[in-house]
Symmetry: C2
Subunit: 383 residues, 2 copies
């Protein structure tokens, strides 16, 4: 009964689609994204042929191919990844969940991972868990935003050995870091024990005998956390050198931030225990300790030699530059991405989880008396 025209009341006239496509009467292009249909029409072929060209399928005549390609270029066509993702079940994006990028270590890790993923034409959606246990759980169980992704690289900071079961989420995932071992999924980590041992041996080699350690975990139980593993390497090195372990030289610091490194060093100095070297369980702690040593008037490396762990970029430029353990970040990133891709492509026959540890090397710099250019003192493996 309604007369053609504006409806009487709330009767909304069929609203125009957001992206209207005017009939391409003139040569000018519209501002909405063209689809395969448009390309097909311009090239005078079916949309499937367009698809075939785009996906490099065989059985497309060269002449047809060039016709389609030029239509694509002319229209500025770009595939709709949502549609492709819906159809193919793949989005071409993987998720990366890290505590926070403002922590140098994770920024560099993310950097390396994005580069590695890019080689495989994968995008990386970065999620920050902010050192929050619940957010880590959300990320790994998929409650989070990451359902647009094909898989997940997960670097926890709060979840621990007891949360192993959470990793078994049926979603392609690869674990990074040193907080959980023996979990149900692939894991790329590092030679914590042997590389820590090598770091301490480096200090021993330059004649130090009273080697402090900063970064032990507050609770006393020996677990599998990287802190515990590195402490184990520290003790092993001392043991093999026949040097007794002095408990007072092992200092707690958590989390591994600069302020805590500085704080632990101040406490160590205040305690009045003599020491001539420091093994900090990561570079950030070491940099904080360096700061506290400077405040206290102790010269590095003359009075105290210092070595860190992780070999973050900053270590090269601190004053003095910081010796460190390079755990092979680029290799870790590349390996993690490759494992994840394998899992994504895996049909059903779940292979058992793998754990991979790239080789490490000790990078000697000024803080342990090295003056020349960067040069690895020792490579290694065999954790």
């Amino acid at each position: 009964m309604a007369i053609r025209g504006t409806g009487v009341k709330g009767i909304a006239s069929p609203r125009m689609q957001r992206r209207q496509k005017p009939a391409p009467s003139n040569g000018a292009e519209t501002d909405v994204s063209p689809t395969m249909h448009d390309v097909a029409r311009v090239a005078g072929v079916s949309i499937k042929t367009v698809s075939n060209v785009i996906n490099d399928f065989p059985h497309v005549r060269p002449s047809t191919r060039t016709r389609v390609l030029s239509a694509i270029k002319e229209l500025g066509y770009r595939p709709n990844l949502s549609a492709r993702g819906l159809r193919s079940g793949r989005t071409g994006v993987i998720g990366l969940a890290v505590p926070e990028l403002r922590q140098n270590y994770f920024a560099e890790l993310a950097d390396a991972i994005i580069r590695a993923a890019e080689k495989h034409d994968l995008g990386v959606l970065v999620e920050q868990t902010s050192g929050d246990r619940d957010r880590e759980i959300a990320a790994v169980t998929g409650s989070g935003r990451l359902r647009l992704t094909d898989g997940l690289l997960f670097s926890p900071e709060r979840l621990g050995q007891d949360d192993r079961h959470l990793l078994d989420n049926g979603f392609p995932s690869v674990l990074l870091g040193e907080r959980i071992f023996g979990g149900p999924i692939d894991h790329v980590t590092m030679h914590n024990v042997s590389s820590a041992q090598a770091a301490v041996e480096h200090l021993l080699r330059i004649g130090r005998r009273r080697i402090a350690l900063i970064g032990a975990h507050p609770d006393q139980r020996e677990e599998l956390r990287s802190a515990d593993l590195r402490v184990r390497g520290y003790k092993a090195a001392l043991h093999e050198a026949g040097i007794p372990v002095v408990p007072e030289l092992i200092r707690v610091a958590a989390p591994w931030h600069r302020e805590n490194g500085a704080e632990a060093m101040r406490a160590l100095i205040a305690a009045g225990i003599p020491f001539d070297a420091l093994f900090a369980l990561n570079d950030t702690l070491a940099l904080g300790a360096l700061r506290a040593l400077g405040d206290a008037g102790r010269r590095v490396p003359d009075d105290v030699a210092v070595i860190g762990f992780d070999n973050i970029d900053e270590a090269r430029f601190s004053l003095p530059s910081l010796s460190s353990v390079d755990p092979g970040r680029d290799v870790i990133a590349a390996t993690a991405v490759e494992l994840l891709i394998e899992r994504i492509n895996e049909k059903e026959g779940q292979r058992p989880p793998r754990t991979i540890k790239p080789e490490f090397r000790i990078v000697a710099r000024e803080s342990t008396g090295h003056t020349g250019t960067d040069e690895p003192t020792a490579g290694g493996a065999a954790s």
Copy 2:
């Protein structure tokens, strides 16, 4: 003609879909992701009702809602974002193109942006352009991977004023940084001139008169790059204080990396020109210069007071801690995300591009003789 059974030759039997869904005869769930259809069946409603519940539409009876919600929970249903993206034209993901995360400044920027985006339920796909002009062009013109995204936050490092036109890509985009001004898209940047002026005034206030600058652009033309703008602020401060500008104290350094800061400082010292303060055009340069000052035996701040720009986290923990200009990174991030969202939601009526500059503040630390806790010496606006 073919007998039922294996085909004679290449006749592929209709292959099963990758994700088969067994009839849900028993209570046990299958391992494939359930869809709205599954939820609808379990809840005994239509799929549209499920959709309505998920999208918090009105006109759903409470009893129906709870029934649907429990079905969702029971099945562990999770919406397929590709499908949603296809249908709605939105993916819920924005792109962030930065040079590289291993540069502290960009890591912290990305950190802030991811947090800001999360507040709006947006994911962030991070792309690294690696300081490569072609890759920056690819990112901004959309040739890259970012077509799964609803919009782009772009922080160029190579593109300059002459590339303005490239930004007009018809894709919702917001520009960050100080390399391009007056472009065709929204821009979130900072008060380069006035904040640089304030930084130098800070040095003047503590009695310094021969203030060096590190980070000027190699080419001499005065453009609109952040380097030029900050140099302008430097000169303005000196001018107002009635102090002549000494060209030899203005040192070139590019790009703004530690090594170049150290290098420029070494050159400055070698040139034998007296100076009692340094304004480094960013913190990274300042940290490099700090390193070189230390090597040369100059005390900071006693012999040379130093102030940087950006207020990266690291500035708080260097030795000595570094005074800096805080350009308001969190505000910049939040603003950029909000502008982008506005543009994404914009129908057609293109509002003209906007440029927004948050307030800045000067953070005085040890490198300019401040010993207490962090405290802003001056806030400011009005570029």
